[in-house]
């Protein structure tokens, strides 16, 4: 796109006595930021449309008989704004108090205690008394789902969840219901989350300022398993955990913390600490193989990656006719869990029933994936027994009293602990594609190629397309993150408008680094912040670039696995253990 080089008109305004010149169309909130004033806010989110609903960001403007919401009101020439008169402070305090008056008074026992935006606002606004308390809404909690718990009693109706679900994810599962004082955010007909078109991505949990949306907690069953001497408790950690977990302990975003994380898991009592990245390497080998077969046999193409469980839920509910396109490979987590209870159990001589498999994931949809009947052992027990989000693991480490700063670096355990750099970058958008391309070029040509980095598929844009040389052929690839972006690609596939060979789809913005289970950002930094996601992704690319082992098919642990257990890629045993199937699910989503 050509850059607009025509200078934008500017206007002069005075904010709290300080003159500032800003481009026309700038909002009061943005203009105030220019002079270092951050106006309090709640429903506002830079990645979402403007609601103007909470009224926390109101300011006084000379000549107006009412307060203006600074999040949407553009400045005009000569505008004089006061962000902090006594009246406006009282009004803001009263507004926050009104929210508190209709909110449970259970901060001390609330999951969000300490990182709740409403709590922070109440403190910052100086709400010290409760003048208007009265009747409170008491809607029912829905904790029946596998991934997401909806607790409308804690909802402040900022509407960020409704907007993220519709605008970023294109799912439109949430809407306000009813009106006025009794308004409730819920799926259609107040349905349970798992019976709605929810794809369990957990972005509502991320953007919620309070605890109205939370992941279904699995910490208690993990504590139980850890305390059970009969159980052999195994843990695996997804690629993106190491890039984000440090934030929970005050490390700057983008600090890799693999070693400390492993040591902490050992201290918690896990008997073996495996790396999901090895599962990722295995996924790559199987998927590249699957791709080449499809390429030979004329389809179905494109092959669409299947590691993001939110995306798989979306596929089954929204684009069932494209199911044949999805790779039948299980996700890295499910592959690794399967191997732990088969390959590892066999080698160690442990009864698989005694293995308790915990997966630490950046994702709340993984909890739903783990519970799928397709991912159960022949005896009906799941391969993955519990899924913890990054947030839950951070909490467990803190709960245990582990001093993060003093932890030495640890190492993953064999035989499922060694991963290539290709597995590491799975945690960011474009990573799976790049890893697949590293493998596919080798498999297609029969020889290793020098090319390791495929910069054309890296980046933070929602949709990226490229042509990549694969032997003699040029293959057309596409990468999408965030499901509204994915729809663009999927519609092109569905209508036959574009012919791709491989498509990578990640449900969450930025891929797993922006997953619904990742740490809440520190106060002042919005969720989905592009810079935050970039930093986390950078950590993964750094880990990759510092490794000598950067291709999945060169991973000795993978080679050993095939040699001793699976046979060859795509073998019947590999199919039995490492592949899965999908089916259309109801309710059908509206695209």
């Amino acid at each position: 796109m050509a850059e607009d080089i025509s200078p934008r008109k500017t206007v002069s305004v005075v904010i709290d006595g300080t003159p500032v010149r800003v481009p026309e169309g700038t909002t009061i909130m943005e203009a105030a930021e220019q002079i270092g004033i951050s106006i309090p806010r709640l429903c506002y989110h830079p990645s979402l449309s403007i609601a103007g609903a909470c009224r926390v960001c109101i300011v006084e403007v000379e000549g107006m008989d009412h307060y203006l919401a600074s999040c949407h009101m553009p400045v005009w020439e000569g505008m004089r704004v006061r962000t902090n008169s006594p009246e406006i402070r009282q009004a803001r305090r009263d507004i926050v108090e009104l929210l508190l008056d209709n909110h449970p008074q259970d901060c001390q026992i609330c999951e969000r205690d300490g990182n709740c935006e409403l709590q922070n606002l109440a403190y910052a606004m100086g709400v010290r008394e409760r003048l208007f308390a009265g009747q409170r809404k008491r809607p029912q909690v829905d904790s029946s789902g596998h991934s997401v718990v909806r607790n409308p009693e804690k909802c402040v109706l900022c509407g960020r969840c409704v907007r993220v679900c519709a605008e970023i994810q294109g799912v439109h599962n949430l809407s306000q219901h009813g009106r006025g004082f009794t308004t409730v955010v819920a799926p259609a007909h107040y349905a349970k989350m798992d019976e709605s078109v929810c794809i369990q991505c957990g972005q509502c949990v991320m953007v919620c300022p309070t605890a109205a949306f939370l992941e279904k907690s699995s910490t208690e069953i993990v504590w139980q398993a850890l305390a059970d001497p009969e159980k052999h408790v195994v843990v695996q950690t997804a690629p993106s955990i190491r890039a984000a977990i440090g934030e929970g302990f005050g490390m700057p975003p983008g600090t890799p913390a693999t070693g400390k994380m492993i040591t902490a898991l050992r201290l918690l009592g896990f008997d073996a600490v495996f790396d999901t990245d090895l599962g990722a390497d295995l996924t790559i080998v199987e998927e590249a193989h699957e791709f080449l077969i499809r390429l030979e046999n004329g389809g179905p193409l494109p092959l669409i990656t299947s590691c993001s469980p939110g995306w798989i839920n979306f596929l089954e509910k929204f684009y069932p006719e494209l199911i044949p396109h999805a790779s039948t490979c299980k996700s890295p987590m499910s592959m690794l869990s399967t191997l732990a209870k088969t390959y590892y159990a066999e080698r160690k001589g442990i009864d698989p029933k005694k293995i308790f498999m915990v997966a630490v994931m950046p994702c709340v949809a993984k909890k739903f994936e783990a519970a799928r009947p397709e991912h159960r052992m022949p005896d009906g027990n799941p391969y993955t027994d519990a899924v913890l989000t990054t947030r839950e693991l951070i909490w467990m480490i803190k709960c245990y009293g582990i001093d993060w700063a003093r932890l030495p670096d640890g190492q993953f355990d064999p035989p499922l602990g060694l991963a290539s750099g290709a597995g590491d970058i799975f945690g960011t958008t474009g990573g799976v594609m790049e890893a697949t391309l590293r493998a596919a070029t080798r498999l297609a040509t029969g020889k290793g190629v020098d090319r390791i980095e495929f910069l054309e598929v890296r980046g933070v844009e929602g949709v990226r397309e490229a042509y990549v040389a694969l032997g003699e052929r040029a293959i057309h690839v596409a990468v999408a993150n965030g499901l509204t972006n994915a729809k663009i690609i999927l519609d092109k596939i569905a209508t036959g408008q574009e012919r791709y060979h491989i498509v990578e789809i990640m449900a969450c913005p930025g891929g797993c680094v922006g997953g619904g289970g990742q740490p809440y950002p520190p106060p002042g930094v919005p969720v989905l912040d592009k810079e935050l996601l970039r930093q986390r992704a950078k950590a993964l690319y750094t880990i990759d670039s510092q490794k000598t082992l950067r291709k999945s098919y060169e991973n000795p642990a993978i080679l050993e696995l095939y040699e001793n257990f699976l046979g060859v890629p795509g073998s019947p045993k590999a199919h039995e253990l490492l592949h899965t199937s999908y089916r259309p699910r109801l309710p059908r989503g509206i695209r």
Binding site: A166, H172, N173, L174, S175, Q176, H177, G178, R179, A186, P187, A188, H189, S196, V197, P320, E321, L322, I323, P324, A494, T495, G496, Y582, R583, P584, L586, P587, R588, G589, I590, R591
Partner: protein, 182 residues
């Protein structure tokens, strides 16, 4: 909606979903939906369609709303959000006769509350509920715009003016009689 340019795959459940929705809504509503879908902004006809569905079935059930969502290709959450926003839409089935008691200013001043109380005690229901025999649903509504005739109630299509609590039993009688007659 599916594109006709690609052959259906066996995993496409649209034909079954569509057929089920059409069964639920019946031919008349489906015709209306097919008609409004020709508009470049079909979703803007949602409220019109919901009015028709309510006229047809007496209320908007979850299955009706889901079917409307599918056939109009509007997210179900949005459809149910709209249906619950507007007071005119009812989400529960209602009795044979809907008794609407106007609570506009004039009616209120002239004793609509006593009329409402009488209906509730006579029929053993609260506002918004349907009598056990399925005959009457009693509701309060905002001004019907017939203030000069206050207190006003409507029973079905009929308007009753200057209703007093004393007249309530005879009004109820009247409709029971009519129901028996048909």
């Amino acid at each position: 909606m599916n594109s006709p340019t690609r052959p259906l795959t066996s995993t496409d459940n649209w034909p079954e979903v569509e057929a089920a929705c059409r069964r639920i809504l019946g031919e008349r509503i489906c015709q209306l939906i097919d008609e409004v879908r020709k508009d470049p902004r079909p979703e803007s006809h949602l409220i019109t369609v919901l009015h028709q569905v309510q006229a047809e079935f007496g209320y908007l059930g979850a299955s009706h709303l889901d079917a409307v969502a599918q056939l109009m290709q509007i997210p179900a959450a949005k459809v149910s959000g709209v249906a619950t926003f507007y007071h005119y839409f009812r989400l529960q089935p209602r009795g044979k006769f809907l008794v609407n008691i106007c609570f506009g200013t004039a009616c209120y001043v002239k004793g609509a509350d006593r009329v409402a109380e009488k209906f509730m005690s006579e029929l053993g229901v609260q506002l918004g509920e349907t009598s056990k025999d399925g005959m009457f649903t009693v509701e309060a509504c905002r001004c019907l715009g017939m203030c000069a005739l206050a207190p006003v109630i409507t029973v079905g299509e009929d308007v009753w003016a200057q209703v007093t609590a004393d007249r309530v039993p005879s009004i109820i009688e009247e409709y029971i009689r009519r129901a028996k007659a048909t």
